[in-house]
């Protein structure tokens, strides 16, 4: 953030709301986010259609998650098509994640695994969106769609974490009780250097370093997101 104080807004009416054929990096960002939306939508759609998987007490939460991910999937798909590009097709997902959830088949009694998967895909979603904002910055309409979805990913992540007795925010790079493959979703969350400021040094009486890591979500690069998504490929 070295340019913080000298920076002037580069925005002009000509650059705002541009929705014609987007630059390559904008489309690449949207295609990556589309993969996140496919993953989340597939998980929640299958969870909702399963028999006796989600307990009645949590049914409203899961129908909300499914509804959100469907709408977000449409938004990202539309963002791609209005930029005259073709959305990549949805992969077929393996929700055992190459056997990390052995035998997981959206079956009765497998709710704890579904809850873990929900936490993984939502925290992944938050970090994937954060990682693409820079690429979207020149296309304000796409940027606005992404930030409007980002904060809802944050809401969804907090809810699915709290539903399973975990705090709504990420402490350090802790994956908690999740399987080892999920560590890639949390690596880097321990960062405390925000711009020119080491926030851990300011957090003494306010949760110290743990609080400093909780207070900021962290981006994942495209390569990191792609590697994690590959684990879900069937």
């Amino acid at each position: 953030m070295a340019d913080l104080h000298s920076a002037r807004s580069a925005m002009t009416p000509a650059t705002m709301g541009r929705a014609s054929a987007g630059p390559t990096d904008v489309l690449a960002a949207l295609q990556l986010l589309l993969q996140i939306e496919y993953l989340q939508s597939a998980l929640y759609t299958r969870a909702l259609t399963a028999t006796d998987l989600v307990p009645t007490t949590d049914a409203q939460v899961y129908s909300t998650l499914a509804n959100h991910s469907d709408q977000q999937l449409v938004l990202i798909t539309t963002a791609i098509t209005t930029r005259t590009a073709l959305p990549a097709p949805s992969p077929v997902f393996d929700f055992t994640v190459k056997g990390a959830f052995p035998g997981f088949a959206f079956a009765t009694g497998q709710y704890p695994a579904l809850q873990m998967l929900s936490q993984i895909v939502e925290d992944l979603g938050v970090r994937a969106y954060l990682g693409q904002l820079g690429a979207l910055a020149g296309d304000k309409a796409a940027l606005n769609t992404a930030v409007a979805i980002l904060t809802v990913k944050g809401r969804n992540a907090s809810e699915v974490r709290r539903l399973r007795g975990t705090q709504g925010w990420i402490t350090g790079s802790s994956r908690g009780d999740l399987p080892a493959f999920a560590q890639a979703v949390y690596d880097g969350e321990e960062n405390v250097q925000q711009g020119t400021v080491n926030v851990a040094s300011l957090a003494g009486q306010f949760g110290a370093t743990a609080g400093a890591t909780q207070a900021f979500d962290e981006p994942l690069t495209s390569a990191q997101v792609t590697a994690i998504l590959a684990l879900f490929a069937s």
Binding site: L4, Q71, G134, V147, I149, L150, E159, R162, F206, G211
Partner: protein, 241 residues
């Protein structure tokens, strides 16, 4: 919203702040945001909204103006949750809820300190929050206000992103916004557990700086002025205006 330059005495008082001197020198168009003075009685905790010393956020400064707007919001959030935590001994929050609200207090205090350090002490304008008779020991009232302030933070960060020139600043503000989303969800779930209240919509709103300023003014003693507001505001999938 009205456009005014205030009374002579107000301008004189304003002269104590650097930006007002510059404003008078430039003769720029200033927006002083409306307060709700008449609605507030003697039970205000720290003072009457919009009754205090004026200050100006000048959007021709670029990214520092967005950081300053965020700093006002984070000061309000940190102060609010700080008072909630301080009132725990007299309040009806469960132990679990107290731990959650303490975490949120910590996060907001860290956000406040981060923005202050990033802006630098000479640029960061400290404000005095105001609460119109808010009972900090009353669970329902605290959670209602918390929802309001978290939602305001989310729409502020989301609506401001389009004006941020630095990619690094864009991302760091979004890192905070995502955590505000986590907070809003937790607060919503405390209010009505295991419903859709953790996330009322599939997309959060975007608010323009003037809209955010007007909302903040209801809980800030200092009189918020905005100069050179961006001419264009581009909404999102759901726009708060």
């Amino acid at each position: 919203m009205r456009i005014e330059l205030g009374s002579l005495s107000e301008l004189h008082a304003a002269g104590t702040r650097r930006d007002f001197l510059r404003l008078i020198g430039l003769g720029g168009a200033l927006v002083l945001l409306p307060g709700f003075v008449s609605a507030c009685g003697s039970d205000d905790v720290t003072g009457i909204p919009a009754s205090g010393e004026p200050f100006v956020i000048d959007f021709s400064d670029g990214d520092p103006a967005i950081l300053q707007l965020a700093f006002v919001l984070e000061q309000l959030e940190a102060d609010f949750y700080g008072r909630v935590v301080d009132a725990f001994a007299q309040s009806n929050f469960t132990t679990t809820e107290q731990a959650l609200l303490t975490d949120i207090r910590n996060h907001e205090a860290i956000h406040r300190a981060f923005l202050q350090a990033t802006l630098g002490t000479s640029v960061a304008i400290e404000v005095t929050p105001a609460y119109s008779g808010l009972a900090f020991n009353d669970r329902a009232k605290v959670l209602a206000f918390a929802t309001q302030v978290e939602d305001l933070g989310i729409t502020m960060y989301n609506g401001s992103a389009q004006y941020v020139a630095s990619s690094a600043t864009l991302t760091v503000l979004a890192k905070i916004a995502a955590v505000e989303g986590r907070h809003a969800s937790a607060i919503g779930d405390l209010l009505t557990p295991r419903t859709g209240s953790f996330a009322p919509r599939a997309t959060d709103g975007l608010s323009a700086p003037a809209t955010v300023g007007a909302a903040l003014q209801e809980n800030v003693v200092d009189k918020i002025g905005m100069l050179n507001l961006p001419a264009i505001f581009l909404g999102g999938p759901t726009t708060n205006g």
